[in-house]
Symmetry: D2
Subunit: 145 residues, 4 copies
């Protein structure tokens, strides 16, 4: 869970937060999870290098600049030998708890050894950290057409 | 087909073109297709407003800054009543025609009336333009894990 | 005074916050001042449209990504008939009040009527708001070579 | 001299190329000069690391997205022991040679040893390369108010 402040410059010429910028928000939420919180729990190496292998994002409502940050909820969807999945929701939480969903997204990430320049397997300490964040039945960005 | 020049600033602190920036390249290719080429063929309205509903992108190889542009091939994957799909490949074409694929992606787009601020159906002129760009059996970003 | 959160993506391939991004921070501080605070005091029109005429920025120390925001102090340096000046410092404030200065900057801004698409003079209400923020002897980005 | 392609995303919510993005264009022109052209002439080290110490930019006319690139002319304004100055004009060149100037800018740059993480003096080979690009009487971004 991470509150990501918007920037005025996130809006495009249509006056909406541009679709590309939502992925920037996901990145910031991921950095917050991996660089800031995971190292406290023993996954320092993950913080040093992770490569994005795949993204899916389903846009649900337009977002406009405002001073208040937007919330990005992030959870682990699966842990495999050399990759793990994340799910995300970009949302506002109203005063009475109702959720306005702006986007639902998913990523597949691969640990990366920056010294070697090579992808690597997930270490057992990292697996433990990631598995504590597993949430198998979270919402997912179904191909909505 | 569109050649998108990289910018040095597209690289992140890892020295790769950042995953988010690939979607910027797709956007520029889409603008080139819809704002520059489609209007010549009768789809001016599409050029004025299209909303991204959904994206999927599969990253295949890292990309580093270089003076030469990267090629983005774009095609129409389907045309529905109020949305259409695009497929993309981000690639280099070698001197002997071999293709180095950096990413394969897909989007669902929705026509949008900027005056009304509302999404709208695809007009018949637009359908003709889009259908000329249909390529049903192009590569697609399969969930690769 | 405005706390601007950094984004991981603000770093360039050298691992520093890129020089261009500092101007993004100034922009966000300006938006905070004009769009968020000025309207409360009667300068709604300024919030709707201001054009940057001129910038000067002197970089004093490198900045790296960290979860904590950076402080941007902003003040008015002059108010003229159809333009006004801003001064800025980008800094960290230490626990004992010491200031680490990352950049000192100045801008000249021009009110802009978005309906007309034309620049305009400063209205008297706006002048009052701006003059309350005047700080004539603030630091300035001297051409340091 | 460098032709910098615009991106649709360079426009902000006002529909103009955002003032911050002009500095991105200067950066790309600088990269073109230092990373692409200077190495051919013996200033490889400059290409590897240069820090921006100071910028000034005077905006002369608004710029809107269009498929054609914008021209950035860049020249050396001075060469000192441990820094050098650049001047820039961002412009369109009309068919009969008339110049539409969008911005005039200047920078002070400092060579930087990435291995050491320290700034350094300009080497004699680099001085020769830079001096060939000297243009002492180019336009400069006078504080225009």
């Amino acid at each position: 869970m991470c509150d990501v402040p918007l920037r005025w410059a996130d809006m495009d010429a249509f006056g909406h937060v541009n679709n590309v910028v939502y992925l920037r928000y996901l990145q910031e939420a991921r950095v917050d999870m991996l660089f800031v919180h995971a190292p406290e729990h023993g996954a320092e190496q993950l913080a040093r290098g992770v490569i994005v292998k795949w993204h899916e994002i389903d846009y649900r409502a337009p977002l406009h600049f405002r001073p208040a940050p937007v919330r990005v909820e992030t959870w682990v969807t699966e842990v495999r030998a050399a990759s793990f999945g994340l799910g995300y929701e970009v949302l506002d939480l109203g005063p009475d708890g109702q959720r306005t969903i702006y986007a639902v997204a998913a990523s597949v990430l691969v640990p990366y050894d920056r010294a070697d320049g090579r992808i690597r397997r997930i270490a057992s300490r990292e697996r433990e950290v990631l598995e504590r964040l597993l949430e198998l039945d979270g919402p997912a960005p179904r191909r909505s057409r």
